[in-house]
């Protein structure tokens, strides 16, 4: 008998069903409501919601608290853990605490350097890297023990994910890096923003070649650009986001008040181009501070919940 899937996301991906995930922008609020409202805008359109871990090295709502609030509201979270703010002691403590709150999907990333954010004078941790973050959590998952060997009362039920960025150098290495993370314990992958379809296809070809056509579930990261100015800001200020000139020029052709619409359309085009590729298991929508656009993108690409499983 195969073991019961640990989460709805795991169940979909393990059954080869197309998955849609989205990232919620964590509000700078001291109450639950603002977060719940944003997450509820996304929930009807996606299978699970990513909770970032003070992304961009800017302090935001605690990822574990946010995930617990989502669970209270029957929304499945994918909680992101970065290596920037926690050493191996804090990581292990937080993983078991999060598990007790009902968190099952954990997504491991390196994390942006502190220099990126609004507290550049902070001390970065990086006790672990994204791969050893995975091996550390996977050790808890498979053995029920801390790295020290001390035992928990049971093995945590976790579904681990990891990031892959096919859009920045060293390009040839990126598919191998995904497989290294897979070996380290990652069961599913989400990519950085995809604006360059050709680059993505060459990455996917290499991945399919290396895995004999059976790669682990991979969700393509997409997101709408609000304006040409925002696209330039994203390219220059968010590490690892590659926005090709032709994408910006396409949006820039429109007057300012129409650029928002053009940005959503460009995103829809990208989703349409990648969703049927062999090796693509789903999409991951990152609409920074613009949750309302997710419904439009998902509906227009025929990926709404009722349509997608037809």
């Amino acid at each position: 008998m195969t073991p019961k899937p640990v989460s709805d996301l795991a169940q979909r991906l393990e059954n080869g069903l197309f998955a849609v995930t989205a990232e919620v922008t964590l509000p700078d609020s001291i109450e639950k409501n603002a977060l719940v409202e944003r997450a509820q805008m996304l929930e009807p359109y996606c299978d699970a919601i990513n909770i970032t871990d003070s992304t961009g090295a800017v302090p935001h709502f605690s990822n574990i608290a946010a995930a617990s609030i989502l669970i209270e509201n029957d929304i499945e979270p994918i909680i992101q853990f970065s290596c920037r703010d926690r050493n191996r002691i804090a990581v292990q403590a937080d993983v078991i605490g999060a598990h007790a709150m009902g968190v099952r999907n954990i997504f491991c990333v390196t994390g942006d350097g502190v220099q990126t954010g609004d507290h550049p004078e902070a001390k970065p941790v990086f006790d672990l890297d994204s791969v050893t973050l995975l091996t550390t959590i996977n050790h808890l998952k498979t053995t029920g023990k801390f790295l020290s060997g001390r035992e928990l009362d049971a093995k945590p039920n976790l579904y681990l994910g990891a990031a892959v960025n096919p859009f920045v150098p060293p390009f040839e290495e990126r598919a191998l890096r995904l497989l290294k993370k897979h070996k380290a314990g990652a069961s599913f992958f989400q990519t950085q923003y995809c604006f360059d379809i050709e680059r993505f296809k060459s990455f996917l070809d290499r991945l399919l070649g290396l895995t004999k056509g059976a790669p682990p579930p991979l969700l393509v990261g997409v997101g709408p650009l609000r304006s040409a100015r925002f696209a330039r800001w994203l390219r220059e200020n968010v590490p690892g986001v590659a926005v090709p000139d032709h994408v910006i020029e396409k949006i820039e052709k429109y007057p300012r008040n129409e650029q928002q619409k053009a940005g959503v359309e460009a995103c829809i085009e990208i989703v349409d181009a990648v969703k049927t590729l062999t090796g693509v298991a789903g999409i991951h929508v990152m609409a920074y501070n613009w949750e309302a656009s997710v419904s439009e993108i998902v509906e227009a690409t025929g990926l709404s919940k009722p349509e997608r499983d037809k």
Partner: protein
């Protein structure tokens, strides 16, 4: 012979010699002092060595991963700039872009870059990587 190949050959040569010496002398204090001093004196100017005590240079194209501002030991982060430079230090080539390029030029250790490196043991900082590596093999 290029620089990467030369470093790789030197590594293999040292490995051969020290595999014989460390099991015999690895616990003697003057020898430990000699190893720590020579590792500092040679690897610091050549590779920017930070004496982590767990050298994996031959698995990373002879580029020290501790030179990465995030001290990543298992490959590049997702923040590498389009020109291959570091997210944190825009004027510096990403350590892992260099490591990847170099590893393709190696004769023996081309694929070692794909191995999963364990969590760094910070308690070994400042000690001899050669003794830690070959002494440990001897114990087990």
């Amino acid at each position: 012979m290029n620089k990467v190949r030369a470093f790789e050959s030197t590594y293999l040569f040292c490995l051969k010699i020290l595999s014989g010496i460390i099991p015999v002398l690895g616990t003697k204090r003057p020898f430990i002092w000699f190893m720590v001093t020579s590792e500092k004196a040679l690897k610091k100017p050549l590779f920017g060595c930070q004496m982590c005590g767990q050298c994996i240079l031959h698995s990373t194209g002879m580029v020290c991963p501790m030179g990465c501002p995030k001290t990543l030991r298992n490959g590049p982060c997702g923040g590498v700039r389009s020109d291959g430079n570091c997210e944190i230090k825009p004027d510096m080539k990403c350590v892992w872009v260099r490591a990847w390029d170099n590893s393709t030029q190696m004769a023996v250790f081309t694929e070692s870059i794909q191995e999963i490196q364990p969590q760094l043991d910070h308690s070994l900082s400042g000690t001899s990587a050669w003794i830690n590596d070959l002494g440990k093999k001897n114990d087990s």
